[in-house]
C-alpha cells in the first residue's frame, strides 16, 4: 500500500467537495461536542455520588424538649431511641449530635454566608440521631417505626434532597445526549452524501482502478479516510469548543458554586478524559457510515 498515493487522494477528495466537507465537519463537531458535554455531566454526577454517598444519613431530629435537656443522650427517651435504632436491621451506625454540635456544624456549613449565621440562634438547633444505613432501602421502614415516637420531631432522609439534584443533572445529561443524537443523524446523512458525491466526482479514477485490478480495499480506503479525517477534525473542533466554553462560560458562571464544594468542579482533566472518547466515536461513526455507504450505494 502506497501511503503517499492514498494520502494525496484523500486531500484531493476533501478539496474537491470543500463546501460539503465543511458542512460535514461542522455537524460532526456540534454532535460530538454535545456528546462530550453529556459525558462531562455524567462524570460530574458520578463524582457527586461518590462525594455524597458517604455523607448521606437518615436524620432523626429530636424534639425541642430533648434537645434542650439531654446533652449526651443518656436519658429517656433519647437513650431508648438510640439503642432501638442501633438494633434495627440495615443500620450501620447511630451517632448522637447535641444542640451545641448542631450549632457548630451549622456555622461551619454556612461559613461563607455570615448573614445566615447572624440570624441563627443556638436554641433553634435540634439535637439529632444521625443514622448511617448499610441498606438505603430501609429508610421507609425506619421512618415508619420512629416517626411520632415520643421525643422524635421528624425523620428525614438526606438522600431525598440529593435525588432532586441528581434528577436535574440527569435531565441535563439526557437532553444533551438527545440533541447529540439528532445532530449525529444529520452528520451521518451528510457523511453519506459527501462520500457519494466524492465517489461520483472520482468515478473515472475508480473505474480505471477497478479495471486494472486494484483491490476493493485500495479503491475504498481513500473514501473511508476522507470520512474519518473530517470526523476527526470535527471532533478536534468539538474539544476546542469544550475548552473554550469551560474557560469562558462554565468557570465564570459556576465559579462561586464550585467554590463551596457543593458541586465538584469540572476541570481540564475531565475534558482531557472525555476527549479520547469523542475522537474515537467520531472516527468510528464516520468510518462505519463511509463503509456502509460504499457498500450500499457506490459501485467501486
Amino acid at each position: 500500500m502506497r501511503a503517499s498515493f492514498v494520502f494525496s487522494e484523500v486531500v484531493n477528495g476533501l478539496r474537491r467537495n470543500v463546501t460539503m466537507t465543511i458542512a460535514m465537519i461542522l455537524t460532526t463537531a456540534i454532535s460530538v461536542g454535545l456528546l462530550g458535554g453529556g459525558l462531562l455531566v455524567v462524570r460530574l454526577i458520578d463524582r457527586m455520588q461518590d462525594v455524597y454517598q458517604d455523607r448521606v444519613e437518615v436524620v432523626v431530629f429530636l424534639t425541642n424538649d430533648v434537645s434542650a435537656n439531654d446533652n449526651s443522650c443518656t436519658q429517656e427517651p433519647c437513650s431508648q431511641l438510640k439503642s432501638e435504632l442501633s438494633k434495627s436491621s440495615g443500620v450501620e451506625s447511630v451517632k448522637f449530635e447535641n444542640r451545641d454540635q448542631a450549632f457548630a456544624s451549622f456555622n461551619k456549613v454556612f461559613e461563607t454566608m455570615p448573614e445566615l449565621r447572624d440570624v441563627a440562634r443556638k436554641e433553634a438547633m435540634p439535637a439529632s440521631l444521625r443514622v448511617k444505613l448499610s441498606d438505603q432501602e430501609r429508610f421507609s421502614a425506619i421512618q415508619q417505626k420512629f416517626q411520632g415516637k415520643p421525643g422524635v420531631d421528624s425523620v428525614v432522609d438526606q438522600a431525598d434532597y440529593l435525588d432532586r439534584l441528581f434528577n436535574v443533572l440527569n435531565g441535563v445529561r439526557n437532553a444533551t445526549f438527545s440533541i447529540a443524537l439528532v445532530q449525529a443523524m444529520a452528520a451521518l446523512l451528510l457523511i453519506s452524501n459527501t462520500i457519494q458525491l466524492s465517489a461520483f466526482t472520482r468515478r473515472t479514477e475508480t473505474g480505471i482502478m477497478r479495471l486494472v485490478g486494484a483491490t476493493r480495499w485500495y479503491t475504498q480506503l481513500p473514501f473511508l479516510l476522507e470520512a474519518m479525517v473530517s470526523g476527526l477534525i470535527g471532533a478536534f473542533l468539538a474539544i476546542i469548543g469544550l475548552l473554550i466554553s469551560k474557560a469562558a462560560f462554565i468557570d465564570r458562571v459556576m465559579g462561586p458554586v464550585f467554590g463551596t464544594g457543593i458541586i465538584p468542579e469540572i476541570g481540564y482533566g475531565d475534558i482531557a478524559a472525555v476527549s479520547p472518547i469523542m475522537l474515537i466515536v467520531a472516527a468510528a461513526i464516520s468510518a462505519t457510515t463511509g463503509y456502509v455507504t460504499l457498500r450500499l450505494y457506490v459501485r467501486l
Binding site: F5, T204, E205, R210, V212, T215, R216, Y218
Partner: protein
C-alpha cells in the same frame, strides 16, 4: 488462454439473450477480431472475461481461472492480468502521460522503483518517449489512445482486450494503432479486439469471430469483415 464453453447470458430487461450458447477458444498469443453489429453481444463477451458480469449458463476461462467461479476477492488478480483499451481512451485529465500510466501500477501497490523503471520503457514501446510530461488534452486522439494502450500493457497482461480502440480515430491513425497492437501481440500477449472497422479487419487478415444476435455465426482463421453477406 480464453475459453468460453456454451456460454449464455441474459439480462433481466430483455427477453432475448445477449449471448446464446457461445463456445470460443483463443490460444495464447493469438490476435482475434470480434465483429458484429451493435447489440450482437461483443460487449457482453468482453464483460464476461473481465468478470464485470457472470454468465447465466456455461463456463468462462481466462488463463487457468474459472472466471464465473472466482471468489470476489480474487477478481482483482484476474483483472491485473487483463489489459483494457476503450474507444474513449478513459485517461485522467488531471494527470500527465507518465502519471496516467503509473496510476495503473500505483493502485495495485507496485513499488515506486519498479514504476520508475517500467513506465519510460512502455512509453517508448508505444512511441511516446519525450511526451511523458504532457497532459492528455495536449495530445492528439491517436496519442491519447497510445497512452491508454501503454497503461493497459504496462503490467504485462496475458490478454489485451480492446473495445473499438479505433472507433474515434481517422484511418491513418487507426492504422498506426493497429501496428502498435500487432507489436504488442508479438510479445506473446493475446489480443482480443472488438471492432466495426471493416478496413482494418480486411487488411490485417487475422482470425475473425463474428457474432450476430448473441450467436457465433462465423469463426475464420484468416478472415475479412464482409464475407458471407
Amino acid at each position: 488462454m480464453i475459453r468460453l464453453e456454451h456460454v449464455s447470458k441474459g439480462y433481466k430487461t430483455s427477453t432475448r439473450p445477449a449471448l446464446d450458447d457461445v463456445s470460443v477458444t483463443v490460444d495464447r498469443g493469438e490476435f482475434v477480431f470480434l465483429i458484429g453489429p451493435s447489440g450482437s453481444g461483443k460487449s457482453t463477451f468482453l464483460r464476461l472475461l473481465l468478470r464485470e458480469d457472470v454468465p447465466s449458463r456455461g463456463r468462462v476461462f481466462v488463463a487457468d481461472w474459472n472466471v464465473a467461479k472466482l471468489p470476489r476477492r480474487r477478481v482483482p488478480r484476474l483483472r491485473q492480468r487483463i489489459g483494457c483499451v476503450f474507444q474513449d481512451f478513459r485517461l485522467l485529465n488531471n494527470k500527465t502521460v507518465a502519471e496516467n500510466v503509473a496510476f495503473a501500477l500505483e493502485v495495485i501497490g507496485k513499488p515506486r522503483h519498479t514504476i520508475r523503471k517500467v513506465v519510460p520503457e512502455v512509453l517508448q514501446l508505444v512511441g511516446l518517449d519525450g511526451k511523458a510530461d504532457r497532459m492528455p488534452h495536449e495530445l492528439s486522439g491517436g496519442e491519447q489512445q497510445r497512452v491508454a494502450i501503454a497503461r493497459a500493457f504496462v503490467n504485462r497482461p496475458l490478454v489485451l482486450l480492446c473495445d473499438e480502440p479505433t472507433g474515434n480515430l481517422d484511418p491513418d491513425t487507426s492504422q498506426d494503432i493497429m501496428l502498435l497492437l500487432e507489436r504488442i501481440n508479438r510479445t506473446g500477449t493475446t489480443v482480443l479486439m472488438a471492432t466495426h472497422d471493416h478496413s482494418i479487419v480486411d487488411s490485417m487478415r487475422r482470425r475473425v469471430v463474428e457474432l450476430s444476435v448473441g450467436r457465433v455465426i462465423r469463426d475464420d482463421a484468416r478472415g475479412v469483415y464482409g464475407v458471407g453477406r
